[in-house]
Point group: C2
Chain length 251, copies 2
Amino acid sequence: MEARPTPASDQVPAPAVADLRPRRTGYRRLPVQQRREQLIAVALELFASRPPEEVSLDDVAEAAEASRPLVYRYFAGGKQQLYEAALRTAADELTSRFAVPLAGTPSEQLSAVLDGYFAFVAEHDAGYSALLRGGSVVETARTSAIVDDVRRAALRRTLRHLGVREAGPRLTLLVRSWIAVVEGASLSWLDEGRTLPVAELRDWLVDQFTAMAAATALHDPQTAEVLAGVLALEGPRAERAERLREVLHRP
Amino acid sequence: MEARPTPASDQVPAPAVADLRPRRTGYRRLPVQQRREQLIAVALELFASRPPEEVSLDDVAEAAEASRPLVYRYFAGGKQQLYEAALRTAADELTSRFAVPLAGTPSEQLSAVLDGYFAFVAEHDAGYSALLRGGSVVETARTSAIVDDVRRAALRRTLRHLGVREAGPRLTLLVRSWIAVVEGASLSWLDEGRTLPVAELRDWLVDQFTAMAAATALHDPQTAEVLAGVLALEGPRAERAERLREVLHRP
């Protein structure tokens, strides 16, 4: 995030004015980087259990067993700065989960990435939901930019995985659309109290990818080529595509 | 929107304090309801050509050939209130375009609704984009709620059109997802300077609906039934579904 001066450690001499106030005791002392990470981790946990607007800096301080002034020493911009730092941390973690496993057919690889995605969604729950839903009081052009970065990373990763160097507008639209479907499905899943089994949702999303690619292939030779390549790699495991064909057979 | 006292006409006596200031002249006088509608129409036009944060109340007053105090008399909450009133008007207009024509096959009917949707998007351009993108300074929980109302109306309308009384979670997820794809596609279309022909995008979205329904039908008997019904109604026009099947054939 912003390059702000950070204290060298919790024990760094506080400004003179603070020294005049009685020292609060009973708080754990931590090295600077560790404290920063702890505050962010605690904040992420709180943001996961309730909407960001219902989390105060006092809540974060209390859960971190730290004083409010200490939290402010690390995040002078207050809750908004802490929120953005936490969001950046979560975004980096999510992006790292986009790494595709080397083994498996394309649909197995996609399934593995989706499992990682849903684990992330489950972990961040309310925070994830508030962030993507918009209209949150902590939402700014900066937080939207962080979310857009994640979407762009997902787009790049998917295209690379499909072996595409230069995606035309139709293939890009397909992948972007599918990412939007993944987001929407994960929000619905949270909304409905996680009643749909994750494994079913994951398989549904893999099938959606195949189906949406097929619909795009009708309009775009590049997508047709990519889809043919993916189905060939699926080999005998392409029976889900076969079943899609059967469903499309008029009665 | 909120029930605020509105003046009976532009000529309504202003509060005593305002009477002390010199009267500005040269502005057109309009009846109250007409003036209110004119201010909203002017605001919508301005919001369409640039992001809401770059539109000031002075701009609105100037374009409406009205004084700034007059705009404030109608919208005491300032730009935010005017923005929300304009958004509500636009939302109502968009929702009215979801009406499905009586004639035609299901895909022709869907095409007609999508044409109306894209005409709306083209008309509102920057305002539409800023609104759906999130992180705008004029975005609040209230504006998000208006957008959600439109999405819910689109969901209801689509389900009714499909002849569904009680949609299960999977069919609901399908329709919601497709609506998200429509939104995303329209934003991409604006982003890329409207280079993709609307007719192609519309056909792509109709095909996406069929394909996404097919993928959902693999997981859900209700969707399978709805899809079979739609394809049967398409009759000899279901050749796009046939082509989808061919694309899914492994090479």
